[in-house]
Symmetry: C2
Subunit: 366 residues, 2 copies
């Protein structure tokens, strides 16, 4: 398979075989200590992997769902056309609902649903084959998308400088080089000297565990800090830009991203530091305008109260554990996409770039 980046990076998503085949998902909950895969043969295993954050990052979740649609179809090969179509439809709906915030999940399922609509009349096997072709196409397109997005963003960086980022937005989070980290990787490959400051990103430490790991493998120097230390870092003038990813961007440019993103935007504004969002067009939700309409997933309080099983809290303590926060468009310097960097007024820039809204029926079915 065509690969980006150093050869010693294990693939994060890999389809083995044809129909029936196996989706191998790199289990990110075990990184960086262990490189191990979840072998998904049915849709429940994909849903479980998404729910457990074995695979995470909006684009990678989308691709997992595209492959998940193949797994659904190949489990229904023996059914007659009508049964097949209704079971497929029901299970695609369930798959789209596994996590609520990232729009890429619904987007990928909507694409799969369209393909299923085209091929469903030809039976289960033809549909499964078409869904696998779709997933592979999306995967390949995403490699190109990440690279184009990275190139567009790399132009914004100085020849020598430092970037602050949050969570993990690299190859682990996508089907290619990444989003915010693709910008760093492309700048690095072009000979720029870019150091990265990575927020540890509590509660699940995607920055500490994943971003530090993949940047190191790419040969990019990385310094981890606690999420609360970003204010001191930005105040000290150590950073040329903040670049983050996104899980969903609305028509006017409000966006949801990993909890802890919004404070960075507010702090960057105070210190006059550019704040960029890096995301492919598949992360835009053409149906939403106001960010407050984005559903925010709340996760298990145990992620806060007993990090990785450490019993650190008083028995009576409760926790509030939103997985994402909202950043309003007015704090965004630019949105880095595969079609270039969108700058304010964002609503206009987004309007001119977004593909035509999907058909009503398709979207409402997802």
């Amino acid at each position: 398979m065509e690969r980006e980046g150093p050869a010693n990076l294990p693939p994060n998503l890999e389809w083995r075989g044809e129909i029936p085949g196996v989706l191998r998902i790199l289990d990110q909950t075990l990184l960086p200590g262990r490189v191990a895969y979840r072998e998904c043969r049915g849709p429940e295993e994909v849903s479980r992997a998404i729910l457990d954050l074995a695979v995470r990052g909006a684009p990678a979740i989308g691709l997992s769902a595209a492959y998940g649609a193949v797994l659904i179809a190949q489990h229904l090969l023996k059914l007659e056309v009508e049964d097949f179509r209704s079971r497929l439809d029901r299970q695609l709906t369930a798959l789209a609902a596994v996590r609520p915030t990232a729009v890429n999940l619904g987007w990928a399922v909507a694409r799969a649903r369209r393909t299923a609509g085209e091929y469903g009349g030809q039976g289960a096997r033809a549909t499964a084959t078409a869904l696998l072709r779709l997933a592979r196409t999306l995967h390949r397109e995403e490699r190109d998308t990440c690279r184009a997005l990275g190139d567009a963003g790399a132009e914004l960086l100085p020849r020598r400088g430092a970037v602050l980022t949050h969570c993990n937005t690299g190859y682990l989070a996508t089907g290619g080089l990444g989003t915010a980290l693709a910008v760093v990787y492309r700048a690095h490959e072009q000979g720029k000297t870019i150091a990265v400051y990575a927020d540890e990103t509590r509660p699940l430490w995607q920055g500490l565990r994943l971003t530090a790991w993949e940047l190191s493998r790419f040969g990019v120097p990385v310094t981890v800090l606690c999420d609360g230390a970003a204010g001191a870092l930005l105040a000290a003038g150590r950073v040329d830009a903040v670049i983050v990813g996104a899980d969903r961007i609305t028509r006017r440019g409000d966006f949801a991203n990993k909890i802890g993103t919004y404070p960075l935007a507010v702090l960057a504004r105070r210190h006059g530091i550019p704040f960029y969002v890096a995301a492919p067009l598949s992360t835009f939700d053409p149906e939403l305008d106001d960010g407050s309409a984005i559903p925010i997933e709340e996760r298990d309080p145990a992620e806060v109260l007993s990090p990785r099983g450490l019993e650190l809290a008083a028995p009576q303590a409760r926790a509030w554990n939103p997985a994402f926060d909202l950043t309003p468009a007015d704090l965004v310097t630019g949105i880095i996409t595969e079609k270039g960097v969108l700058t304010p007024p964002l609503a206009e820039a987004i309007h001119s770039l977004l593909p035509a809204p999907p058909g009503e029926g398709e979207r409402s079915m997802a």
Copy 2:
């Protein structure tokens, strides 16, 4: 011993015996899982307890140093006056340097040094006795200070509301009810219904481990959140005030406090939420005007990279681990002290309240 709060709270600092005696320090690194004490018989053990954060919080560090001065003196009982005085002086200097940021440490050592100056001529035993009297006086005064500060702050809170706080500023951090948490405790005792949101406070989880524990013991409902989630909390309008402690406050009202404080101040300003600092007058440094002159301690990167021994980072990853950050006076709504609430212009309010600056010699010796 006179106690504040519920009877089931173990004392955090306790002197047992006279001269020679033992300083018992509640080991906060083991909380909330275990209540255990470090028994300090010599100054090295006190320094070690301060360095390890077995005792932390600016006021409690100050009191530990006051008792530490007694331990120094009682170890030198057999020395002649001149030897005693020079050894005492040298060891007090070392004690004052154990942690750089909290001014209370230097302040307490300066007080001990003044007492030693008055009694030194009468020999080691008389000095040790006088130092113990001083430590007990400071301890008793701090109980009054915390209560007065709490009462002054409680007036700022509504009859029913919620407060966001950071780190631990309660009885564990002081010789009394606390600073920011004293405000909550006094409001609670006056019949107000106050809920507390507590930042977990990475890297050492003082909020998750200590604040949640002591608030629960006091019967105050507490909800812990990751440090990065404070932005979403404030944006959601769930909080009536942010109240934090301080490790050092300058003449114009800039202050250092636990890393992660500064982002809260910036976010509170954006959302029009009052941002209060609660601190006794002993936390003011009359020698500094600009906060950027406050020395900021950087601690072991392992606190970030391997939290509580969990190996979560790639071997190549580095970390930046400042223990404190600076918040400029212009973001402060008020400073809650035992003499009332100071409001802007803070420089004038502080000037009118601060005791006369200590003698040059005394301060420079510390």
